[in-house]
Symmetry: C2
Subunit: 73 residues, 2 copies
């Protein structure tokens, strides 16, 4: 396991969200996920489950597997 | 979102587990995950979260992202 999978996921999510030009608020709204929850996910403080990973991936227009790849340095 | 992300994940996990020659019992034991829970995950009945996805991927010796790819037909 990499050092902290939750932090890596959060970083990766932020990178992908920004690459799509989406604000945190807009991603939350379009995914049907509470913004406070999304904020916690992006900070690596939430152990997000599969269905929410898929909701985010769908909104970002990417495969869910891509969200689990390592973030860019 | 694909038809049922939980069922897809379960199928994919079964395929990868078998490709490694691991029984469900052995994968559960080595991952530190209850076998009854793992069984539910493989049947698409559990909304598995990120830390457990990583535990399974580590035991299988694959990147976590690989577990979220679509199963083979």
């Amino acid at each position: 396991m990499q050092q902290d999978p939750l932090k890596s996921f959060g970083l990766r999510l932020v990178q992908l969200r920004k690459s799509k030009g989406l604000s945190q608020e807009k991603l939350a709204l379009e995914s049907g996920i509470a913004r406070s929850y999304l904020s916690g996910v992006e900070r690596g403080q939430r152990n997000i489950a599969l269905l929410n990973i898929h909701k985010l991936a769908d909104t970002l227009g990417i495969p869910a597997s891509s969200l689990l790849e390592l973030p860019d340095d």
